[in-house]
Symmetry: C2
């Protein structure tokens, strides 16, 4: 059999990266990264409004070319006989919900001269939180009169999602809204560019993006009804006609690579381009997700993914941000949860609250803090933190929550706070697992991926100790791009790819690292007590239902600090 | 009339200082500071127990000589005709409760060769918190069977006080306890040394120190009953016979300066040495305390002092750590409140959590943080903090409380946290004022003194804005030593001093600075809302009575941040 390759393209928050894999051996033949040049680390900010986070669509186009060409060049360096015409498919994942206002030809408004420098005409990055009032309005209307719409997205519609952002644009910049013929998700735009079919009506949209984030569901015939949208704004009801009626999983092709792009990129025209999806969903596939596996993508924020056969009943799970048929793997519900800030919280600490006595650079500070916190036993800091500096995605689905730190004394050190923040994110992770299992999605295995999973040994041990479960780590450093490449192969079909299904390809291509982090039972016992306190603070500050007392919290933290339980760190 | 001078000696936590004043003009003729050389900034620490804080009695003796001689030398430099024999009296204030174990001659055990290096035989500094279990035991026994004992000290006996420390010593180091014939407060020891009468039975003890801190009260015949003490430990009942039956206010003489000390110091033998008192109480006198005046001594911690005529009824005030007849001025109840950490909390922040981008030194960091926070309007940080990093003295009288910070995001900066800590201490100050006024001690005027009052303009404005009252500042930088000098003069008597009473001397010698900090009504309105949230957290985490909901707190902080209320900073 001839050699066959697939390309995965992963568009993150600050950069995009490619991965070229050999579909037989699983070898990673080439990979290239391109940082978005615009704004601050690729994000267009508004000094007057910290909620604004936009991106320049030109960064996507330039980056896409650079990373494809870069990966192919690497492969040629590795093997002079490398034949780019043996690339059989391309898969694409991006952040989301990251909608792009486009004109009737599908050109992003941000690329047009008349909208140069207009922040509202650019891409509305997932992280943009300007639309929190609109999110509340959508949630309130749906809760009152269209409760089915909310049940699939955890009970609360987010400011990060499609309709919130579009309604916000309509309200605050009607000129740009009027110029927008339609809106296309970033993950639908890149495949359309590769296929040369950007006209909005011609794009095969991603079920992963359409799913809860655009309130798309077969139960009500696709996007939400015109009646519902008209109640928010009549212009949204009109817009519905210029969006889409169908959405597809990523094992299907969005189209074929067009001749123009093929020539630019040095690839064979006509190869498959898979329907796009969000990064976490393809990352879960690249990490080897299967029934009973929770994949945790540990980065600046986290995404937690599971799947559940779509032939078996599954209740709506309160607080889970999405349950969408086919969003991860065809034939399965994709269950999506996540934490709004994990690595971002550690970066905030090190950038703002860590003195130079820990080191001159961010890297040095992290290293010496990790060394210092690793000698501590659980409970020894006397600290307890919530993990809400950027709100809470799961299980509270509330962006308007903030941080909380309790237990500090006149002796508290920065590395102790760092440990408390790591523990807080682990407690947040446990809260998600508990919620999944309460509703029948049993977690038999946890596979971790993302930067923190491979770089932060102290964090992985604390997670194992808090969760009381082994923490496995996927072998590839680039599970999102790997998942995208697998979908690129799947979209090319069995004959081309040699695999019967996405799962068949996963079994061949997805591996684990040898090192698995195992829980220390003594530490787990201490953390179980600390988690009880975390959960009380979580419920007290994050829910309307909680009512009670909290005067025991500081006393118990002091007692845990003094007990010395849990053995040495 | 001939010139007449008085000397005040102020023994602080890390150093002691003197002030020599001209009793006619009020001029400050000389002042000298001596840092305690032992341990860490004068404090003997135990690396294995952060609660330990002891001092070397030799530091007091060496410091006392150095600062008296230093002040007299300064006066001679200023005026070659200065005549030290015109010094008519010496007053002494110290930290407290700071008990010293002594032998039958009144020699501190820590000065004896056999106890060299034995931490338990040294002075037990006020800040030592090793005796928290014993404090709880004393509180529990008194609450159950001797409730009157508690009513005068706010409802809870502190680990910082006399009996807690002595019981702790008996329990954990019976050899040192057995070697201690008696225990003498630091403020009683220094006058005794000056008078050459250190034998415990010969010392005229301070009512200020004996008052609530040793549970001394005329209502039950002085110190607590032998029955009560025996219930704690029979050895304490025996000890009671070797303590004291009487205690005196500081306008009375502890004795006369003995010939030996007079010769060493270059003073006239036989001059008056006043009964000692705690630093805050004499500081209040030096700041000009009178009926209706609250004196705030703003330093590493704070003391808040008021007086109330002892002929007028005054209820016990829950949570106030002391109400003692004569502890501040004869004829008045002294009302003592305080905050366990103010400046110490800011120092903790700057030493542990402020990056060098704010400056290379502690001083530079404070300066640039003050500049940055002064541009913010109230509410703009979105943060709210409690001021309990070192526990809460008033109104909760609970050392086992810790810090809490809420509202941090991924954008929170160190100077914003600094502002939140300043605000927290202001909210703590307001809680004390409200409690005083609820029980009939009306605050008509606030006079501030101490390092923060003269060095920290941002803090003073925030305090004025939070309290909604003018913040006056006493003119002397050394109000404690000034108060001590006034008592030295009073103890010498009217004929010698030229003043009829302590109040008469105050009117002549205590002045205010020209600058008074006035509240901004817009800022005060915002702070009144923030204080409502502070008080809910205060009650939720600090009291057994509170029960309720807290899910509004983060939302209201976000709303205040976004509102822009209160005008520019």
């Amino acid at each position: 059999m001839n050699q066959r390759y697939a390309l995965g393209l992963d568009f993150g928050t600050n950069s995009c990266r490619s991965l070229l894999i050999d579909l037989e051996s699983g070898a990673e033949l080439g990979s290239s990264v391109s940082a978005y040049p615009s704004g601050s680390a690729g994000i267009l900010l508004d000094p007057g409004d910290a909620h604004v986070a936009r991106q320049n669509p030109q960064d996507y186009l330039d980056g896409m070319h650079a990373i494809i060409i870069g990966a192919l060049e690497q492969a040629r360096v590795l093997d002079p006989d490398f034949d780019a015409s043996r690339v059989i498919g391309i898969g694409v994942d991006t952040t989301g919900s990251t909608p792009i206002p486009v004109n009737a030809e599908g050109t992003p408004l941000g690329l047009l001269p008349e909208f140069a420098g207009n922040l509202d005409a650019q891409v509305w990055l997932w992280r943009d939180h300007t639309a929190h009032a609109e999110a509340e309005e959508i949630t309130a209307l749906a809760a009152r009169e269209y409760p089915a719409y909310l049940a699939k997205c955890g009970g609360r519609y987010s400011s990060e999602w499609f309709w919130s952002k579009i309604l916000r644009l309509k309200r605050t910049n009607p000129e740009v809204f009027a110029a927008a013929h339609s809106f296309v998700e970033h993950c639908d735009y890149i495949p359309a560019v590769l296929c040369g079919t950007t006209a909005p009506s011609a794009i095969r949209r991603s079920i992963c993006a359409a799913g809860h984030k655009a309130m798309f569901h077969p139960a009500w015939g696709g996007l939400p009804s015109k009646e519902f949208l008209a109640r928010l704004d009549p212009a949204l009801a009109d817009l519905r006609d210029r969006l889409y009626d169908e959405a597809f999983p990523s094992d299907q092709a969005a189209g074929k690579l067009c001749a123009e792009q093929a020539a630019k990129l040095g690839l064979r025209p006509g190869i498959a381009v898979a329907v796009g999806a969000f990064d976490a969903h393809m990352g879960a596939v690249g990490a080897g997700i299967r029934e009973g596996t929770l994949v945790k993508i540990l980065g600046t924020s986290t995404c937690d993914l599971m799947i559940h056969p779509n032939q078996q009943p599954l209740a709506d799970i309160p607080g889970l941000c999405g349950i969408v048929d086919g969003s991860v793997l065809p034939g399965y519900y994709g269950l999506e949860a996540g934490q709004s800030a994990v690595g971002d919280m550690f970066l905030w600490l090190v950038n703002n609250l860590v003195p130079d006595s820990y080191g001159a650079t961010v890297e040095e500070k992290f290293q010496s803090m990790e060394a210092a916190l690793s000698t501590l036993r659980p409970g020894a800091t006397g600290l307890l933190s919530l993990d809400w500096n950027n709100g809470n995605r799961t299980i509270l689905t509330d962006a308007r929550l903030t941080g909380l730190l309790i237990g500090q004394t006149l002796h508290t050190k920065a590395h102790e706070i760092y440990r408390a923040l790591i523990e807080a994110t682990a407690f947040g992770a446990l809260t998600i697992i508990n919620r999944l299992e309460e509703y029948g999605a049993m977690v038999n295995e946890i596979i971790n991926t993302g930067g923190l999973a491979v770089k932060n040994a102290a964090l992985m041990q604390i997670y194992a100790d808090v969760l009381g479960r082994p923490m496995k780590v996927s072998r590839s450093d680039q599970t999102c791009a790997l998942g995208a490449a697998i979908f690129g192969a799947a979209a090319a079909g069995t004959l081309e790819s040699g695999y019967d299904s996405v799962q068949d390809a996963q079994r061949a291509l997805c591996r684990l690292r040898e090192k698995t982090w195992l829980p220390n039972p003594g530490h787990h016992a201490v953390y179980t007590r600390l988690y009880g306190l975390y959960r009380q603070l979580h419920d007290a500050f994050g829910t309307q239902e909680w009512s009670g007392r909290l005067n025991h919290v500081m006393k118990e933290l002091l007692a845990l600090r003094e007990e010395g339980g849990g053995g040495e760190g």
